[in-house]
Amino acid sequence: MTRILGIVGLVTALYAALLLSTPPAGKTDNLIDVANLQGQYGIVTLGAALVIIVGGIDLSIGSVVGCAAVLFGVVMKSGVHPYAAVLLVLAFGATVGLVNGLLVTRLKLQAFLVTLCGMFVYRGLARLIGGTVSRNWVTDPRDPAAHPEFDQPLRGLRFLTIGKDFNGELLFPGEFVLLLVLAAVLGFFLHRTAYGRYWYAIGHNELAAEYAGVNVNRQRVMVYVICSTLAALAGVLLFLNSPSVQSDAGGSSWELFAILGAVLGGCSLRGGEGTAVGMVLGAMVMPVVDNFVNLRGMKSDGIPAVIGLTLLVGTIIDEVIRRRSKAGKV
C-alpha cells in the first residue's frame, strides 16, 4: 500500500496543478481527452510493467505499436475485414512476443539487446510494408483500390474502443475504460492466481523460483507474448484514434513512456515488484503533464524540458516517500 502512496500523491498534485492552471482544464471534454491519452499509454504500460516484474525489459514496444498500426491499415487495404484484421494484428503481436521470449529464454540472449534489435527490425518492417496509413486511405471511395464498405465497421470499432462518434468527436474515454478492464484482468492474474506468484518469484530470484518448480522459461515467454500483444492492440487503437499513422513515427518512443509509467507506478527495474493499480496510476502521469503544457501555451522549445523536469521531480518525491515509509516500518 505504501508503495502506491507516492504515485497517488503525484497524480493528485499534477491534477491539482492542471485544474488550477486555466479554466478550460477542468472542463469535462478536456478531462476526457486526458483520460483517453492515459488509456493509450496505459495499455502499453501494462505490458512493459509485466516484463519488468519478471526482471526483463522490452524496448521494441514503440516499434511494435507503429508496425501493428501500419499492418492493420495495409491488411484492410488488401481486402481483409476490419474485425479479422484486428485478430491478425493481435496474432502478429503475439508472434513478436514469442520470438522475443524464445530468444531471451532459449538462446539466453540479453532482453535489452533482443528487444533493442526488435526496435529497429519492426520499425524497418513498418516502413517496408507501408508509408502513411489512415482510415481515409483504406476507405476512400475515390480510390479504386480502397474499401469504402469498411468505413462503417471502422467507425463502429472507433466508437467502441476510442469513444469517438461518427464525426470524430470524443464522447467518452474509451481507451481509458479499456485500460481499466485490461488492468483488472491483469490484476486478477497478478494478485489472485499462481501465475502472478510465479512472475513475482521469477523477478525476485529466478534461481529460487526454478528450484521451487516454476517453469521459468515458459512464464517468461508468456509475459513477453502478453507485452507484445498489448503493444499490437495499442497499434490498432492508434490507427483508429489518429488522423493517420506514419510508419517511421507511429508509436515512436512509446517504450520509454511505458517503462516510465511502470517505474513511476511502483515497478522496480530489478524485478519482482509492481501492482496493477500502480501501473494504471503510473501511466496517468505523463498525459496530465502533456495536457498542462498544452493548455498553458508554453513555448515549443521549452516543452520537452518542462515535461522531463516534472517527471524527474515526481520521481524524486515518489522515491523519498517510499524510503521514508520503509524507514518507518523498520
Binding site: N30, G156, F159, L171, L238, Q246, K299
Partner: protein
C-alpha cells in the same frame, strides 16, 4: 455479424447526433475590446518555422492578439491533432495549421472548422473542410520553378534526385509533381529505365533527365536521415557527371550540401533548393547552390494571425484568395522579374534575402 454491425452503426450515429452541436464557429468571435486567442501549429520543428513564428509574433503585437505558437517535435499528424484539439477545448478563437496529411486529417479538420475559425498555411487541406482560406504559395507552380532551375543548371540533361520529408502532404505532392512536370513535359509520368552509365541504378526518365529510383527520397523530417539519403545516392552515382540534387523541404538543401562536402563534391554537382534556410542562402551566395524557391514563411505567420484576428472580430475582409501569395526565386546575382504561367515572379539576390531574413528574425524576440 450484420446485426452487430447495424447496432454499432446505429449507436455511433446516435452518439454523433447527440454531440453535433452545430455551433459553427460560435467560439470564434470575441466581444469588442477582448483580445482574441489565436493558435498556430506547424508540421514540425525547423528554422523555416522560426521565421513563421517571428511573423506571427509581430502580427500578434500589431493586431493585439494572445498568441500560442507550437512547433511539434515530429512530422506526425498523430502528434499535431491533439494539440489542436486541446486548443479548441481551451477556447481559442482561431487556429492556423500546416496540414501534414490532408486526406487523413480531413475529417478532424472539418470537425474543428465547425467550432473555430481555421486557416491552413504552407500545406493546404480540402476546401470542403470549411477552412477560411489557405495561406501559401501554389506548390505545384513553385515546384515547376525549381524544375526550371534544374533545366538551367543542366541544359543538356543529366541525373537528378529529389529529397523531401514525405510524399503525402499537399505541398510535397505539389512540389514533386511540379518539378517532374517541368522536366518531363510531355512525359510527365516518366519512363522507367536504367541509368545510362550506371545500369545498376534504376529510375525513370523525364525528358532528358534521369530520376534516381524513379521517385522522391523521403526522410521523415529534419534529421540525420536527410543527410544519409543524399550521401547514399551520391555514393551510388560515383563517377557520374551532370548530377543535380533537388532539396524540396527547407532542411534538405543544407543536408545535400553537407553530404556533398563529405564527398568533396561541392561545385562538382548542382544543387537546387526550396525555402530560405540561412545555410542555403549563404551557399547560394558562394555559388555552391544554384538557387532556391522562396515562400516567405514570415509572411505566412503574419497573414495567418492577421486573418484569424480579423475573423475573431467579425471582419472577413482579410481572407486571402487563391493564388494571392506569390513565390520568389533566389539566386546568387538575382535578375529581372519573370512572367511564367501568368505569374510575375521576382528573382532576388541571396545576400539581400539573407539580410531581410536576419532583420525579420531580429525584429521580434522569439
Amino acid at each position: 455479424m450484420a446485426l452487430r454491425l447495424t447496432f454499432l452503426t446505429a449507436l455511433a450515429a446516435f452518439a454523433a447526433g447527440c454531440s453535433n452541436s452545430g455551433n459553427n464557429n460560435a467560439a470564434s468571435t470575441v466581444p469588442a475590446g477582448t483580445k482574441p486567442k489565436i493558435g498556430v501549429v506547424t508540421n514540425t520543428t525547423d528554422p523555416f518555422w522560426d521565421l513563421c513564428e517571428a511573423g506571427a509574433n509581430k502580427a500578434a503585437k500589431d493586431f493585439d492578439v494572445d498568441l500560442v505558437f507550437r512547433q511539434p517535435e515530429k512530422l506526425d499528424a498523430a502528434i499535431q491533432m491533439p494539440i489542436i484539439d486541446a486548443w479548441v477545448k481551451q477556447g481559442m478563437n482561431g487556429i492556423a495549421v500546416s496540414v501534414i496529411d490532408p486526406k487523413g486529417q480531413e475529417e478532424d479538420l472539418t470537425r474543428i472548422a465547425k467550432k473555430v475559425s481555421l486557416v491552413t498555411m504552407d500545406n493546404d487541406a480540402a476546401e470542403s473542410t470549411g477552412r477560411l482560406c489557405y495561406i501559401g504559395v501554389d506548390n505545384h507552380e513553385a515546384g515547376r520553378a525549381a524544375g526550371r532551375m534544374v533545366k538551367k543548371a543542366l541544359p543538356n540533361g543529366g541525373t537528378i534526385a529529389l529529397f523531401i520529408g514525405n510524399n503525402s502532404s499537399a505541398n510535397a505532392v505539389g512540389r514533386i509533381s511540379g518539378v517532374l512536370d517541368e522536366l518531363g513535359t510531355p512525359e510527365a509520368n516518366g519512363t522507367p529505365g536504367k541509368h545510362p552509365t550506371k545500369p545498376e541504378v534504376n529510375g525513370k526518365f523525364y525528358g532528358k533527365y534521369f530520376l534516381v529510383d524513379g521517385e522522391a527520397k523521403t526522410d521523415g523530417g529534419p534529421g540525420e536521415k536527410a543527410v544519409t539519403n543524399t550521401r547514399d545516392v551520391l555514393g551510388r552515382l560515383e563517377g557520374v557527371t551532370d548530377i543535380c540534387m533537388v532539396g524540396l523541404y527547407a532542411y534538405n538543401p543544407p543536408a545535400i550540401l553537407e553530404a556533398a562536402r563529405a564527398k568533396s563534391l561541392v561545385g562538382k554537382i548542382k544543387i537546387v533548393g526550396f525555402d530560405e534556410n540561412l545555410e542555403t542562402l549563404k551557399a547560394i551566395d558562394k555559388g555552391e547552390i544554384e538557387g532556391t524557391v522562396w515562400q516567405d514563411p514570415f509572411n505566412y505567420g503574419y497573414k495567418s494571425v492577421e486573418v484569424l484576428a480579423a475573423a475573431a472580430r467579425g471582419d472577413k475582409s482579410k481572407i486571402v484568395g487563391k493564388g494571392q501569395i506569390p513565390y520568389r526565386l533566389v539566386t546568387k546575382d538575382g535578375g529581372p522579374d519573370q512572367t511564367t504561367n501568368g505569374l510575375v515572379i521576382q528573382n532576388l539576390k541571396a545576400a539581400v534575402v539573407e539580410k531581410k531574413i536576419r532583420d525579420d528574425l531580429a525584429s521580434v524576440k522569439k
